[in-house]
C-alpha cells in the first residue's frame, strides 16, 4: 500500500500530510491531529457523530477517505469558537440543556451550523430535516431543536 500526500486546510490552518490511503478523514482528525472533538459512532454514515464541514457543506467524516479530502477546506467543532468565546450554537446547546451525554453534540452542532449558514430563520421542520442524520440516544431532540432556534435568533442579532 503506497502512502499518499494530502494537502488540506483544517480550521483555517494548512496541513501537508503523508498518510496511508485506507484512512478516513475522521481517523486522521482524531488520531494524527489530536482533534478529538469529532466523534466516531457507527462508522457507517448512519449516526452523524462525525459530521464536519467540507467546503462549508456537512459530511460524515467517517465516509470520506483522506485522499478524497485532498485540496479541501475542513471545519471541525474545534474551529467554531472565536477569541476563546464559544459560538452561539455552542452557547445555546449549553444554556438550553441540549446536551446529555454529549457524544452526539459536536455532530449536531456542525450539522446545525451548515443549516444556519444558509438559512438564518429555519422552521422547526427545517431544523428536524437538517438533523435527520444525527442521532441522539439520550432522547434530547426537543431541546436540541430549541437550541438551534435560539442560536439562529442570536446570530440574526449579531
Amino acid at each position: 500500500m503506497k502512502p499518499i500526500q494530502v494537502n488540506l486546510t483544517i480550521n483555517d490552518r494548512e496541513y501537508h500530510l503523508n498518510s496511508l490511503p485506507n484512512r478516513t478523514l475522521l481517523s486522521v482528525l482524531r488520531e494524527d491531529l489530536g482533534l478529538t472533538g469529532t466523534k466516531e459512532g457507527c462508522g457507517a454514515g448512519e449516526c452523524g457523530a462525525c459530521v464536519v464541514l467540507m467546503d462549508g457543506e456537512p459530511v460524515n467524516s467517517c465516509l470520506v477517505l483522506i485522499g478524497q479530502a485532498d485540496g479541501h477546506r475542513v471545519q471541525t467543532i474545534e474551529g467554531l469558537s472565536k477569541n476563546g468565546q464559544p459560538h452561539p450554537l455552542q452557547k445555546a446547546f449549553v444554556e438550553d440543556g441540549a446536551v446529555q451525554c454529549g457524544f452526539c453534540t459536536p455532530g449536531m452542532i456542525m450539522a446545525s451550523k451548515a443549516l444556519l449558514d444558509k438559512n438564518d430563520h429555519p422552521s422547526e421542520e427545517e431544523i428536524r430535516e437538517a438533523l435527520a442524520g444525527n442521532i441522539c440516544r439520550c432522547t434530547g431532540y426537543t431541546k436540541i431543536v430549541q437550541a438551534v432556534q435560539d442560536a439562529a435568533e442570536e446570530l440574526r442579532h449579531e
Binding site: 457507517a44 454514515g45 456537512p58 477517505l65
Partner: protein, 290 residues
C-alpha cells in the same frame, strides 16, 4: 480498513487506464463503498476516486432533454432550478434520501452502479423514461435505464466501463409526476417500498400515456407495464387506480427481508402506486388549468 492503492485520475482516459489494473474498483461519494470496505466485503486492490473527473460533473440541457453527469450529487439535484421544473419526482425522491450529509456526497452514478433494488433515484428516473450512457476505452454506448439492471448489485456494466451520464426528455406540461416512499421514518430510511408515477392527460381529460415504477418490489427497480396498460383511456380517478393496483401483482415479485414481508409489500404497493398516480394526475390537471 482493508489495504488498497489510491488513485485520483482527472480525465476519462486516465480512469480507463487505472481501471485496467487488476483488482481496480471505482469510488465516488463513498456512501456505499466505504461501509462495505470496512465490513471487508469490497475487495479492491486499487481504489479509483472519480471525484476529480470534472467531465462527469454537470447538469445540462441537450436535444430537448436534460443530461446529468454521473458525479451529480443529490445536493446538486436539489439545488438545480432546471430539475425542479422538469424532474419534480426526482426532487421528491432526493429529499427523502438518507441525510443532508449523505446527499452531499452520494452521486447519481453511484446509486445506479450500486444497483440496490431499493435505490431511491431509480423509480423517478424510470418514469422519466431515462437512458444511461456508459463510457469505456473503446467508446460510448447508450441504453434505456430499464435494461441497465440485472439483479441486486448487478448491472450490464463491463469491467472496463463506467457510467458517464443519465438523459431524459423534458416532458410537456400535460404530464404530471408523483412520488411516494414508505419507511419507518421520513429521513435516514432505506425504502420498504417506493413508487413513482408519470401520466399525461389528453384534452378529453383521460389518461393518454402513463408510466409507473416501483423500488424494493423486485430484484431490481421495475416499470409496471401491466398496471400501466390497465390505465390507458380511463379517467384519472379511483376505479382506474384500483384496476392498476390489481394488475401490479404481475409486474412485481417482492421478497421477505428485514424491512418487511413480501406479503406486506404486495398490499402496500397498490396503496403507494394509487397515491403516486393520484398526485401525478393532480399535477397534470393543475398545469392544464394554468
Amino acid at each position: 480498513m482493508q489495504e488498497f492503492d489510491f488513485q485520483s485520475p482527472q480525465t476519462l482516459d486516465e480512469v480507463f487506464q487505472c481501471l485496467a489494473a487488476p483488482g481496480a474498483h471505482l469510488i465516488a461519494g463513498g456512501t456505499d463503498v466505504i461501509p462495505r470496505m470496512r465490513a471487508g466485503i469490497f475487495p479492491a486492490a486499487q481504489l479509483i476516486d472519480l471525484n476529480r473527473v470534472e467531465a462527469l460533473r454537470y447538469i445540462r440541457e441537450e436535444d430537448g432533454g436534460i443530461r446529468l453527469g454521473a458525479l451529480t450529487t443529490y445536493a446538486e439535484i436539489l439545488r438545480s432550478p432546471l430539475l425542479a421544473q422538469f424532474a419534480s419526482a426526482l426532487g421528491a425522491a432526493t429529499r427523502r434520501v438518507a441525510s443532508p450529509m449523505a446527499r452531499q456526497r452520494g452521486t447519481l452514478g453511484g446509486n445506479l452502479a450500486n444497483a440496490s433494488p431499493a435505490a431511491d433515484s431509480v423509480p423517478p428516473l424510470l418514469v422519466l423514461d431515462s437512458w444511461v450512457r456508459l463510457a469505456g476505452p473503446h467508446g460510448m454506448r447508450e441504453l434505456p435505464l430499464t435494461e441497465f439492471f440485472r439483479g441486486p448489485g448487478k448491472t450490464v456494466l463491463a469491467p472496463d466501463e463506467i457510467i458517464e451520464s443519465i438523459f431524459f426528455h423534458k416532458h410537456a406540461p400535460s404530464w404530471g409526476f408523483g412520488y411516494e416512499k414508505l419507511g419507518p421514518r421520513q429521513g435516514m430510511t432505506i425504502s420498504i417500498l417506493s413508487a413513482a408515477a408519470a401520466l399525461e392527460l389528453g384534452t378529453d381529460g383521460r389518461i393518454k400515456a402513463v408510466r409507473i415504477a416501483l423500488g424494493a418490489a423486485a430484484p431490481t427497480p421495475v416499470r409496471c407495464p401491466r398496471a400501466e396498460q390497465a390505465l390507458l383511456g380511463h379517467l384519472p380517478a379511483a376505479p382506474a387506480w384500483q384496476s392498476a393496483a390489481e394488475n401490479l401483482s404481475v409486474d412485481i415479485s417482492p421478497i421477505d427481508d428485514v424491512r418487511a414481508s413480501g406479503e406486506y409489500r404486495r398490499k402496500a404497493a397498490g396503496v403507494l402506486v394509487t397515491r403516486a398516480l393520484q398526485s401525478a394526475a393532480e399535477s397534470a390537471q393543475r398545469s392544464a388549468a394554468q
